[in-house]
Symmetry: C2
Subunit: 144 residues, 2 copies
Amino acid sequence: MPKKKPAPKRRSGCPLNASVEMLGDRWSLLILRDMMIRGYRSFNEFLQSDEKIASNILADRLRRLESYGIIATERDASDGRKVIYSLTAKGIDLAPVLTEMVMWAARHEETGNQPLVRQMQSGKEQFLAAVRQRWAKERSHLTA
Amino acid sequence: MPKKKPAPKRRSGCPLNASVEMLGDRWSLLILRDMMIRGYRSFNEFLQSDEKIASNILADRLRRLESYGIIATERDASDGRKVIYSLTAKGIDLAPVLTEMVMWAARHEETGNQPLVRQMQSGKEQFLAAVRQRWAKERSHLTA
DNA sequence: AATGTAGCTTGCATATTGCAAGTGAAAAGT
DNA sequence: ACTTTTCACTTGCAATATGCAAGCTACATT
């Protein structure tokens, strides 16, 4: 368990409010989905995602997510233009939140019946384990 | 399982995007928390909640949540001024989402160490069962 | 050297939010 | 009965956030 932040001034002390202040907007969770499920890691990949986020908003959200410790940025060693965005442990811990949101919408709304949904429904815990494992593998070069 | 809505035009077909379009703002989930966990049912109760939502925003969010079928409204039989807001089945199905968001923040942020958090951590499934049971009880007058 | 690419920033129009005050109908108090 | 409160909002307006198109800078490629 990583150390917790001393919490900036919030509207209330409720943990749900903390989550909402960090993630409660129309883009942050979609960026995290792209990182967690699709393996996106660069600015241009996020830009080209289905929902078509504007580049100024994307830049702002990446900055915010980093300031919360949910994602980390590093420069690409072999290409000085590229920035690599990756999930921190705190970010990967959001997997259960995303999973529940996907399952809820799949259950109550007419959405694309992506393979993702079936994968989640057929075994939530296995799905989460797979996400975590992939994440650990991708990070291995940082801790090695 | 209730019938799904034919989905208004969305930015994408991803179920997570559907969830974010319905719930991705700074207030909706807090209103649902108040209904689900605190048992709030009236406009004034929501207004007085810790985070101090503005009355125009509250009115707008209640309208939106109703339009999505997440909450229902009825007039109070014994007081013609009062409107009673309650969760639908679709709304109560958000309990796992709220739970995961609370547990995530409690784990990674310095938030008030409410009894709620401990209750959730000590047994998520029991907590969810309790919420659902309380909800079923409150609704019994409607289905009787 | 010229062209392309990645990750942004800037300017500006539009939409959303937040604050304070006000409204109308119904209930409670006198 | 009539005055005051309560409840669920609405309105006006300033501040903030969002979205679009274009531009910019540091690399990288040819």
